[in-house]
């Protein structure tokens, strides 16, 4: 049932889409049917794959940098009290500025290439990763810390052997959220200024009324995002095997 359900949902949505197209009689340049979109994709697969690869590369690089920066910030905040007192407000304030509003500036500074999109994705990933990991590091079971102290462990040893492993499930959750929002950064960056990537392809097709191409690019992006999410989810589950999946209503 676990595997069947998404398939049924997917087929149901496609069917609904087809029904809307038929019932509303919308012209193909406003809302193309699912078949037209599939045809657009099949007629030029290289186009979607090439642009998709660029967007995927931007997302993955953003994830790497965002994860590295987020983990480092959370660790510094957990270990050095002054760093926490100074960094935490900055972090919260930084969230008051929507990343989208920064997109034009980032494109201006870092150009039309991949760099500005990677930075966008990094910025959008940084916060959920930092917040989740820092939260996990703060909420260490007091009994574990008490035990480690009674064993004469140093603060560093407690961080390394107790607080970090204990915070990994929280980091995993943060990484899942980050993966879900990462494509937003890359796509917005591409909309503001670029000459490649799925975001660019969508704007380009839209301007030429090639709505089927636009939908095909959107479908490619959705498939990429879902595949990426499940890959990260799988990786997180397998690297934190000791954390059981809890089903409170089943046990």
């Amino acid at each position: 049932m676990t595997f069947v359900r998404p398939v049924i949902i997917f087929i149901g949505l496609i069917a609904l889409w087809q029904i809307v197209v038929v019932v509303s009689g919308a012209p193909h340049y406003i809302l193309p049917g699912p078949l037209a979109v599939v045809e657009a994709w099949i007629s030029r697969p290289a186009l979607f794959l090439q642009h998709g690869a660029i967007t995927l590369a931007e997302i993955l690089l953003g994830l790497c940098f965002g994860l590295a920066l987020g983990v480092t910030s959370a660790l510094v905040m957990a270990y050095f009290r002054p760093a926490r007192e100074w960094l935490l407000p900055v972090l919260v304030i930084s969230q008051a500025v929507p990343v989208f509003a920064l997109a034009p500036i980032l494109v201006l500074w870092f150009g039309y290439g991949m760099a500005s999109k990677v930075i966008m994705a990094t910025l959008i990933i940084y916060f959920p990763v930092t917040a989740a990991f820092h939260d996990g590091l703060r909420r260490t079971e007091p009994g574990w810390v008490e035990l480690a102290r009674s064993m004469n462990a140093s603060r560093w040893a407690i961080l390394r052997h107790v607080r970090i492993p204990a915070a990994l499930p929280a980091l995993g959750s943060g990484l899942r959220v980050a993966t879900a929002v990462a494509p937003i950064g890359a796509i917005v960056g591409e909309w503001v200024g670029s000459s490649s990537g799925l975001g660019y392809l969508m704007l380009h097709a839209n301007a030429r009324m090639q709505i089927d191409v636009m939908f095909a690019a959107l479908g490619t992006l959705a498939a990429l995002a879902i595949a990426l999410y499940f890959a990260i989810d799988f990786a997180v589950r397998h690297s934190i095997k000791w954390q059981p999946d809890s089903h409170p209503d089943e046990t």
């Binding site: 079971e141 009994g143 574990w144 008490e146 035990l147 480690a148 102290r149 009674s150 064993m151 004469n152 462990a153 560093w156 040893a157 407690i158 390394r160 052997h161 107790v162 492993p165 990994l168 934190i240 000791w242 954390q243 059981p244």
Partner: protein, 259 residues
């Protein structure tokens, strides 16, 4: 008491402990002031008393955990050396690390102090302790696959691995079912027979089975009542006449302390 499971070479020289004039205030309440306690070398001292009287706090004061100051002034060891690094702690919950397997949990003290993997000798020692606690088969298992009783056995093995002359236990068996509890009490008494132990408990039967001396803590600020010292060596049987004899008296003292 001699036994086959405990390795005598393991046991460090017993150290006695005396607390003189301990003072502790917690959240504007004076829990105790001028409290005296003697832990005889190589003996089990049990501490009973109503909830909130300060038993666990007294234990934590000796353990020297954060926020509880004045330790060095009030605590002295029978050999004149400082207590630092010579105390092991066992809590009500096992606090096993779920990301480490059983043998690594037993060895976690080495990991926490040396910051590197334990040597082969320590590993052999851990294996020996796992056999002594009946856990040899699950050495490679993860903690969440074990029952509460087995997990607490791991905690006992971990405490023994620390190899400290003084062991402080805060209601270590209270979360276990009656039969498991009696088994583990016997096991702990056997394996920790040569240590200076302070056992905080809510269970008069447990105190009378295990303690060389049993104190009731009462009043605010709290003081210690006269010690009950059964003659037979622990662990005593649950139906031992001395245990049954003292149980009534102990319950009476506890009831009075709870008023």
């Amino acid at each position: 008491m001699t036994n086959s499971a405990a390795n005598p070479s393991l046991s460090p020289t017993p150290v006695g402990l005396s607390v003189r004039g301990a003072h502790l205030a917690w959240q504007d309440k004076v829990l105790f002031d001028g409290l005296d306690l003697d832990l005889k070398a190589g003996r089990w001292t049990c501490l009973l008393g109503p909830s909130g009287i300060g038993k666990s706090m007294l234990l934590r004061l000796i353990l020297g955990l954060d926020g509880l100051e004045g330790k060095s002034d009030v605590i002295s060891c029978s050999d004149g050396l400082p207590l630092d690094g010579r105390v092991a702690f066992m809590a009500q919950r096992d606090f096993l690390f779920p990301w480490l397997n059983i043998i690594d949990n037993v060895l976690v003290g080495r990991r926490l102090r040396n910051d590197n993997p334990p040597d082969a000798q320590a590993h052999d020692q851990a294996c020996h302790l796992l056999s002594a606690t009946g856990l040899a088969d699950v050495a490679q298992a993860m903690p969440d696959t074990l029952s509460g009783g087995m997990r607490q056995r791991v905690a006992i093995a971990r405490t023994l691995m620390e190899d400290r002359p003084v062991v402080l236990m805060d209601e270590p068996f209270s979360a276990l079912d009656a039969i498991t509890k009696i088994k583990l009490q016997g096991l702990a008494a056997e394996l920790l027979s040569n240590r200076t132990v302070l056992l905080v408990t809510h269970d008069p039967l447990e105190a009378l089975r295990l303690g060389h001396s049993v104190h009731v803590m009462r009043g605010r600020p709290a003081i210690l009542g006269e010690a009950i010292e059964p003659h037979a060596l622990p662990p005593r049987q649950v139906d031992d006449h001395e245990v049954l004899e003292h149980q009534g008296e102990l319950l009476k003292q506890l009831a009075e302390a709870s008023l």
